[in-house]
């Protein structure tokens, strides 16, 4: 298993010592780890494509400055067996390489690329606002709105 894939898997599946993270309220002195931030981002990312079907678990997140990860987990209705699939979208110059299990590689275009552009744009905009509290256009900190 490649190092990148291993990192992605650990971020998705977590480890036995990890706490189940929700929004970081009431934790003023605990430092954010990369994994916690990724989980917060992925909570937003998983909803970008609409409702997750019942019995499915979905993750969509930016792994690093060149990689997007889509992960979907579900139970096969016939066999009851747990199924999952991971797709990695890698930025190669100005093209996007789709990497799937079974050593399947293809540069994407057409509707799939259009959908990925929309999803990643929306992801950055929402994550910037709701996780990092900055304006996605200007990069300036958003001032919290006082409750009226």
């Amino acid at each position: 298993m490649s190092k990148l894939f291993k990192k992605a898997w650990q971020l998705i599946a977590g480890d036995s010592n990890a706490v189940n993270l929700k929004m970081p309220a009431k934790r003023p002195l605990k430092q954010f780890t990369e994994r916690e931030l990724l989980q917060l981002e992925s909570e937003i990312g998983s909803k970008i494509f609409g409702d997750v079907p019942a019995g499915h678990r979905r993750e969509f997140f930016c792994l690093d400055d060149k990689t997007w990860i889509w992960y979907e987990e579900w139970k096969d209705p016939k066999t009851g067996k747990k199924m999952n699939t991971t797709v990695r979208y890698e930025v190669h110059g100005l093209r996007i390489l789709k990497v799937q299990e079974g050593a399947r590689y293809s540069f994407i275009e057409g509707p799939e690329l259009d959908n990925l552009v929309a999803a990643t744009t929306m992801y950055y905009e929402q994550v910037a606002r709701h996780v990092y509290g900055v304006d996605p256009q200007t990069g300036k900190k958003l001032t919290p709105v006082a409750a009226s």
Partner: protein, 101 residues
């Protein structure tokens, strides 16, 4: 515990996201502040990500629609990675202080 000089106290009370030099405790030794260290490390990483992205080669000709889309996907990844790397190691308190600036 020795008393802290006013400059350090001011720093601790106000600084969480300001860029700048590593503070010294006045007698030549580096003033160790783990929050500040994490912040500086994060800022360096963020700058490195930006530098790497800027160094990626671009053709002189106009981009094709597919390339334009690829550029946008890459740009969202770079921007997200920069925000994340600037935040890793910060605390919620640092974060809220920064939001109030």
């Amino acid at each position: 515990m020795r008393p802290k000089n006013p400059e350090i106290l001011h720093y601790e009370q106000t600084s969480s996201t300001h860029e700048g030099a590593i503070l010294s405790d006045g007698d030549g030794a580096d003033f160790h502040n783990p929050f500040r260290s994490a912040e500086l490390r994060s800022l360096n990483e963020a700058q490195q990500i930006r530098a790497d992205a800027d160094a990626r080669p671009r053709p002189e000709r106009p981009l094709t629609p597919v390339e334009e889309s690829g550029l946008r996907v890459g740009r969202s990844a770079v921007n997200t990675a920069i925000l994340r790397s600037r935040t890793v190691g910060l605390t919620q308190a640092d974060f809220e202080l920064a939001a109030g600036e």
